[in-house]
Symmetry: C2
Subunit: 276 residues, 2 copies
């Protein structure tokens, strides 16, 4: 199966599920003329609860599927894969491979006013230490406090993004970070931007001040723009690029959930089921 | 790979993930001398968000793996598979196949005092109409009101089974059921027994009376006992049976989560990873 790319080579983006659509959305806003092919491996989501060897195997299958789409850059819009399999993918691809952890970590390191960053992410991403390592590469004096916030994923998928339950869950996850006086918060999971407003609101309420909140999806889109410009890979057309979504399964509620992540900008005919 | 069954043929139990361990636990309590082989397909969990054809394919692979363990009965400890693939499995097996929906539905139909049953389950199970169909087969005059309660799964897995968040989430899910005056509640997901205490507490608080709460895992264990006795398949030994757990992946936090479902009764050497 080959999606037609008659204008230029596309940007390939993949995630274990639909969370990575927040990255595709950010890229589309940042680079509107680029063609984007997004692959969501929803037949095997979530990767966060799999072993490292299984994650590597799945990530390679996703990269191969996007490789067949004639892409010019591969964006790994999945924190688990970014933490576990990025080097492996880089070794096997002859084009740039960008994860979501490094851009988020770099932006966090740049904006932290006092050098104490809080990170919320899934259990798996926190356990990987990926954000810590990437932040320390920029500035080894920065202090990092991480807390897993797994329930934010189903809250985002259900659309319970504000209201009493979301507030209480967010407070519970932020409490250990606010109590040690973090001065910057990184949203280390691609689902969390859907809850950004409530997270910012509770963080301000709990800490008594406005703190910078870093969205890894936005940070990745900005780094991707620089990367394409530097490598001479940017699309030179000024018409609107296409967005194609490949999925490895097509469950009944798929469109509804996808729309929630994309603000309704995808047409059904641009969603294609693939076997990988 | 063949797990030794030197006493008798075993009871095979499978689920997409670990929720089905509540069924294995109930069977172990009900039938302590039976050997049980549980298969958790955690490399491909959750089935609830997959298409029906994918669920059928996965269910057949699980059944085949347990078939190779020389089992005498197959218990489908997964509501999604019970709703979608039970007939298919029955056609392909030469021993009894028992799902979790029919026993829960039958017990609900037997205990409802006024004939109005509420069902909470995942989106997928509710959409399948499985509980409605099974209850109507017992008594077509019974009224059924269902409400998806998907967040209870991650709450159970995280161990947030009481406290303010669990109470609020449960209240939100029970409200549409209590407001139409259900007189019985079926817990239609294998994860929910972990939250049973808080569910019963909130149900009583909201409805102002004690209502029967049906746990499909317990109902299934009771029906299994009758089935084995009727078919002459019961184990005749009176020593304690074994519990073997097969898993299709072995993530880092596996033991911790498994213990939560089993009350810590499993030894690490009885957990075996298999490829299916």
């Amino acid at each position: 199966m080959k999606v037609s790319q008659n204008r230029t080579k596309a940007i390939g983006v993949f995630d274990s599920g639909l969370g990575g659509l927040t990255v595709a959305r950010a890229i589309r806003n940042q680079l509107p003329s680029e063609d984007i092919v997004f692959l969501g491996d929803i037949a095997r989501v979530p990767y966060g609860s799999r072993s490292s060897s299984t994650v590597c195997k799945y990530a390679q299958a996703c990269a191969k599927t996007l490789h067949e789409q004639n892409i010019k850059v591969l964006v790994v819009a999945c924190n688990t894969v970014s933490a576990v399999a990025l080097e492996l993918l880089r070794k096997n691809c002859n084009y740039p491979v960008l994860g979501v952890i490094e851009p988020g970590a770099r932006e966090g390191a740049n904006v932290t006013p006092g050098g104490h960053i809080g990170v919320i992410a899934t259990h798996r991403t926190v356990a990987s230490g990926g954000y810590e390592k990437a932040i320390k590469l920029v500035d080894s004096t920065i202090k990092i406090t991480s807390n897993p916030a797994p329930l934010l994923v189903p809250l985002a998928e259900e659309g319970w993004v504000d209201g009493e339950v979301a507030k209480l869950v967010i407070q519970r996850y932020l409490e250990p970070l606010v109590s040690v006086n973090i001065d910057t918060l990184i949203l280390g999971c691609t689902h969390y931007p859907l809850l950004r407003h409530t997270i910012e609101e509770q963080l301000e309420k709990m800490s008594g001040r406005q703190l910078p909140v870093v969205d890894s999806a936005l940070a990745t889109a900005k780094e991707l723009q620089l990367l394409l410009e530097k490598s001479g890979l940017s699309c030179q057309e000024d018409t609107k690029g296409s967005l194609t979504i490949l999925v490895t399964d097509m469950p009944e509620k798929f469109s509804e959930t996808a729309m929630r992540f994309l603000d309704g900008i995808i047409l059904k005919e641009n969603i294609i089921q693939v076997d990988i």
